[in-house]
């Protein structure tokens, strides 16, 4: 158990390390990171739209493993109190249904705008893509507005 893992490292350590993952993806594979793309690879493979999994699917699989590795090294989860505001304010089944709906918005929105927080936010913005900068500014602003709206209602 490595106790330091239970506290967040300073932002100026973690941020640059995440930036280096983006750089490493180019240095090793000449690829732009993106998680939704990995999920989409799996969905396309399962639904017969694609014959083989692309690198992004393996990248997404690695994230699952990275989460497991963290838990193994840290010894415990850094949160164990339900799932944010949803499980505090709603009953279990309702929270589950809301999560499915939120997931549909995340999957549909990210797939049609070319990426999520990682694909457009990290991968796209570091390349300087105007489309990614536009998408990132839009989802950040929308998410802030919706969060304040939720806070006003609950």
């Amino acid at each position: 158990m490595i106790e330091g893992l239970l506290d967040r490292p300073p932002w100026f350590v973690l941020g640059p390390l995440l930036g280096l993952v983006v750089v490493a993806a180019f240095a090793l594979l000449n690829e732009r990171v993106g998680v939704t793309g990995g999920f989409s690879d799996v969905v396309e493979r399962v639904t017969g739209r694609r014959a083989a999994l692309g690198w992004k699917a393996w990248f997404a699989l690695g994230i699952v493993g990275g989460g497991a590795l963290f838990l193994l090294l840290a010894g415990e989860r850094t949160f164990s109190h339900g799932y944010g505001w949803l499980t505090r304010e709603l009953t279990g089944p309702v929270a589950g249904l809301v999560l499915i709906g939120a997931g549909v918005a995340i999957g549909y929105g990210a797939k049609s705008s070319g990426g999520c927080t990682s694909g457009n936010g990290l991968g796209g913005c570091t390349t300087g893509s105007a489309a990614s900068l536009t998408a990132t500014a839009t989802f950040m602003a929308t998410a802030i507005a919706v969060s304040f709206a939720i806070k006003a209602v609950i």
């Binding site: 995440l18 090793l28 732009r32 990995g38 393996w58 989460g67 949803l86 990290l122 489309a131």
Partner: protein
């Protein structure tokens, strides 16, 4: 190919580990970020983009080739289209409601946080809906494209 897959898994593992360590996978941390109560996530995100931005340009300036594929390090940029605004806005709603985005949901699954399962199911469904929508114009065009072949004269 095997080396590419291995490298992809290792990159993902590093990414998932960092998302977990930074507590990106805790919905309440994202909620604090989006309610502008916590500057950590914003500074972290900005510094990640800054390091990536500089790093990519250094690679390109050095005319580096990707170690495993041999391709020259390069990228294309896209101009904003309507879908980059509408799709991103829909994504933003889902992100704000769940306080979880696709990277963290994968790391949560790895940690056995089972609330990630309904979110995962929804994301997969949303991706299928987007794929079907993207395929729709192609399907509608199909009869027209087939017309000359069925009418050789």
């Amino acid at each position: 190919m095997t080396r590419v897959r291995l490298a992809s898994v290792l990159l993902g593992a590093g990414f998932g580990f960092l998302l977990s360590w930074g507590q990106f996978i805790d919905p309440d941390r994202i909620r604090d970020m989006l309610l502008l109560r916590d500057s950590y996530m914003w500074l972290m995100f900005a510094s990640a983009v800054a390091v990536g931005f500089v790093g990519l340009r250094l690679l390109r300036r050095a005319r580096a080739r990707a170690l495993l594929t041999g391709e020259p390090v390069s990228w294309t940029v896209a101009r904003p289209e309507r879908r980059h605004v509408t799709g991103a806005a829909i994504f933003g709603v889902g992100w704000a409601v769940s306080d979880v985005c696709p990277g963290p949901v994968a790391a949560q699954l790895g940690q056995g946080i089972w609330w990630s399962v309904p979110l995962f199911a929804g994301i997969a469904l949303g991706i299928v809906m987007a794929l079907r929508r993207q395929e729709q114009p192609a399907r509608e065009r199909k009869p027209l494209a087939a017309l000359p072949a069925s009418n050789p004269d």
